[in-house]
Symmetry: C5
Subunit: 321 residues, 5 copies
């Protein structure tokens, strides 16, 4: 299905019409048009750019990799880059969403289908009474969906941190799998921060009155959106602190375990070395007291038992065993 | 008991009347009304919102989780989110407090009953001579109580850090329980910072003259409140420094203990290995000097005692034992 | 002796008169009055507050614990909180000094007698030619004395860091006492920073022209004071860096020593294990070559000496011993 | 070939003419002249400086080492320093590029030939339709090429970090080569940051309207350039975070491996020490039960097998082997 | 020789005249006077202060220790504090240089002779054509010399860091001397930062137009100076990063070596323990198979060789030896 929509006076007039019709609708300033391109070719995009009068640089930016979330302000339109995050095999894959904003048109360009645009249209339909705000309303619904996704990820990472914390003080030492989890979690948090924190600047730019993007009625909604973005950024920072707490406590636990093992090693090595030394004495081929006699055997055995026993007790008392 | 209050000209006129009466009282601008909702349903809140003319977004925010302390400024009212912290089993549980502020009404919505609203009313009654400042007075008493609770927590954490410090240089090595305490303390400090530091911005926003929240007479009290908030933030930062000092010293002590153990291990292993080697020599089935004769026994015993004794003294001197 | 002073036209007119007379002197704007209270009761302070027209909040603040250095600007007076630091048993104890500043009166309230007010009066007397600047002059002398004390502490900590540095590369490993010193030093540095860095803001506020605290003649002196405060802050930051250098080098030295010990352990264990193995061979009750014959003894002894000697030389060459 | 170019009305009129002709062309304000000097002598540069009326300080700066990327604004011209980065044997070598910008001339001075100026001219030719913007156009092409090179390096470092991450959890412990790679990578990242982050300030200064460097048509292109610079800076910061994650996980893995080895050491040492102790007992020259009889042999062998076996099973159960 | 100079209209008129004549020259505003005091007494300085009308505070500041680089602006003159750094026995010793700047006089006060004032006069003579700028010219030459010295130090530290880096991956482990070098280097870098970074503020203050210190012709030279100061600050920050890279890699190498040693210890201990155990078996005084017969000897020897050989091969394969 083609993703196109035409709003007039806050009502959804038409949906799913071919993109070719867009240029007709756009000429009437009373119309508000949206359409979506998923992984378009360069030619498709160029044609769209010409029809809507978009700047060449903005159109080229869509295909550049490694962008950062940003708003570019051109004379007749805005160009916004944002990132959806797709979690697969516990790795984050950013999905670029390029957005062109003209006074009466919104174009969304998705890098691939991992970003589900139907969820956005559903959100638009759910708050239809605000639709008369036109592009301002559509853009809010879209960005709100993106930021909510960031939020869900922070929440998820928070839970994973909690899960790792619960394991921290269990008897069982941390395995290689746990270490990998911790590593991946931290890596993903860097990945999230990379695309989430610049959103502050993006939304803040949109709030500028001279851009006329946000209608008065939509203002509280954009401010709410801004608040969400701040929350994501703050929470990520908090998670970072929790992660260092986790990591450092983990390191300290490792050191603790090593100390425990060394203590036991010292102690048992000493306890076993003593009888070996004594039997060595009684194994000499020299006439020591008790050589070849039962008395020698009893002496040897007694000394072994007593010396080992005393050592054992001494170590137990110092909590070395 | 229903928590409602009606002030007129700085006097508490009525208390505990049903919430249904609120809308009547509110229409008279000479009245100041307060009421409290504890864990209300969505329907309850919506009705209140309609009666007082609150913005839908603000009403919805009450039910959103993972908020951050903030002030939202709407045309006709303010919406404040703050957090009470409830410590149970040495874990911090944030309790959200949502506050609606209109020119002559204050509504408090508590997430649950862990936040004891009676303590707030008691505080209001204690400084009744300021009551003629209306909502400004009520809001101050409420926020002051919340910030004082943050303050008490920092104080408590400070004491816990002190207690851990005292243990640091005791003979007994740190146990798993101590490590857990340190971990939890640090985690709680992150939790406190999360809800305490944004209060700076909250109180600072309230101090803005164009909002007309703070009456001239209340101004020094709000500035005092702001000072409290700053103190909480600064103290938390200080505690953080003390915690890293604690943690790093603890790590270094661990290393120190490991060195001690290794040194003793080396030394005793060497001392015990020497007699074992000598008795091995005298246990050979070859006619070494003294083989099978008393002279051999005396030589063997003498060498063992002298060699071990010399080693023992040498190690003692180097402080290795 | 009661600590009171009356200045008129830059001259010290009267000293040591009872506090009861203060209210008479204060009414004449040509007089400048100072008096000091050491650990006063709430009633004493309230009476003073009434006589000088001080704000209730400021008076109450004197008794609140855990303040931070600050200036509160009230309509008719200033309220300043600063901290003296008292070092006892190598622990820092902050002593709160509350200062009320009216156009012609200065009141100092000391938490306890550890802050020696006579040193301040001596400083006032030493620069008596500036006394005609009234309260501005008195306040400068007081704050200068407090900041100088902070400065002396940083200097002292600097010396302690130097002393610890000198020990760092000595043969003797760091003892528990050294570790404790390092820990306490760092803790004290946090304590100093807590009360010293907010002094920047305090002095900066006093420099504001609209407060009319600093007379034109005193301006360079206050700027000099500000410079001192900055120096304390910067030096503390530098010490922090030096401390981490110290701490991290110390950790690395620990690791170095552990490596040394492990290397020696490995080497000696190998050297001693070899003769033990050989004598074990010649102790077998089987007719190995040389069993029961002198040739066996010579072989055994030769192998032991040669094998151990070769190992020893090999290890020496690799710098393992 | 001499690198010179003459543009007139956006058209490339002449190329490769001798530098001596430059002074003639420059006098006509309708001409735009570019020429390039590679590793020139002091005399060459001075002559150019005189012809174009460049400030002595700017000319001297070309030969000063250890510059930082910057823009110096002189009355009649700009002097820009930027850095190309040349990667050889996995070490970064900065190549200084000095740029003089007058209203109708651009002079590029390269420290050495590692910076390939032909790539820049190719880029100019590729976007020839903007050439009518004169110096503004030429400068953009040059800086864009430099910043793209920084970008390529960050991308490359990102891949190297990824490659190191993949190795992190392999069975094989990290070798010295891997450690060296990690070290060099981090060093190179510092080197890149040193020359890349000040570019923010450089481009930002060029964007200042009062300098008249950027023509209106070029403005979006310079803003795009600025965005690239920001991306390089942000990505470098992200890489830094990923590197610390990598490094700390690596450290923790080392600790983990050490614990594993210690555990095995303890266990096997205990298992082998036990039979040695038992055979020692049966090697004594005293009439223990079974001395010289077959029963003794069976007892000895049974105890050895059973004791070792039990120990082995016990250790396996505790996951110590 | 007395260090005094008299300039008139940009020409050096007189040199080496007694300081007593200074007051005569200074009265003529067409004259520019410089003189230098090295480690003067308090009385000397006071007399100079009176002659030139310097503020008491500025004169006193010269003798205060632990200053920070700063500019104090008095009504009729400036007071500048800067630091020369003298490296002796690889320790940095700061040498305070106090500078008084009046409209037509420059006074330099050196803490001691380690700061060689002849180098400054040589620099003045080298750029004599700027001398008509009077005090502005002299001050620039002086500060430029100081900042160049800071720069040389950073360069030197950079080389030392490089030298340490080269050692990092050599076979030979780092010795105590290397650790000391690293420690001293880092300490010196803190010392340099302490006096170099505040120079930013110093030069920036001098650039303020309302101070009339910098003449229009000197402006590019002061901006160049400012650029130098920035470079020192940035480079120091970069070195800090390189140092942490160095230090952390060094720590990690230590851990790596410890692991290596532990692995070898484990392996050789196991290999040597096995023959000891076997010879123990054949040393028992019980009739094991082969007791007293040649078969026993061959069995024993074969088992020893085979078991040890197998272990050796197994360990080699796992890269444990």
């Amino acid at each position: 299905m083609v993703r196109t929509r035409l709003y007039r006076d806050g009502n959804l007039v038409s949906e799913g019409f071919p993109i070719a019709e867009v240029s007709d609708h756009v000429t009437d300033p009373g119309n508000v048009v949206w359409f979506d391109l998923c992984a378009p070719g360069a030619a498709d995009l160029e044609r769209v750019g010409e029809e809507l009068g978009l700047h060449t640089l903005a159109v080229e930016d869509v295909f550049q990799e490694h962008q950062r979330p940003k708003v570019d302000v051109y004379d007749s339109h805005l160009f916004i880059t944002a990132y959806w995050l797709h979690l697969e095999d516990s790795r984050l894959h950013p999905v670029e969403i390029s957005i062109f904003v003209t006074p009466n048109a919104l174009v969304t360009v998705r890098e691939n289908a991992h970003f589900d645009i139907d969820k956005v249209t559903a959100r638009w339909d759910a708050s239809g009474d605000l639709a008369k705000n036109g592009v301002s309303f559509l853009l809010h619904g879209l960005l709100d969906y993106v930021v909510d996704a960031h939020f869900d990820l922070v929440e998820r990472f928070d839970e994973e941190v909690e899960a790792l914390e619960d394991q921290l003080f269990e008897e069982r030492p941390m395995t290689r799998q746990d270490a990998r989890k911790m590593f991946t979690l931290r890596k993903n948090m860097v990945g999230l921060r990379k695309v989430a924190t610049p959103m502050r600047e993006v939304v803040n730019t949109l709030l500028r009155r001279d851009l006329h993007v946000v209608t008065p009625e939509m203002m509280p909604y954009y401010q709410d959106l801004y608040d969400h973005v701040l929350r994501v950024a703050e929470w990520t920072d908090n998670l970072r602190d929790l992660m260092s707490n986790l990591r450092e406590t983990h390191m300290s636990q490792q050191g603790f375990r090593l100390n425990e093992i060394m203590k036991k090693l010292t102690s048992w090595a000493a306890i076993i070395a003593v009888p070996t030394m004594i039997t060595g004495f009684y194994g000499q081929n020299v006439p020591y007291p008790g050589f070849g006699s039962s008395a020698g055997f009893w002496w040897s055995s007694t000394i072994i038992v007593v010396a080992s026993g005393l050592l054992y007790l001494a170590f137990k008392k110092r909590d070395w065993l």
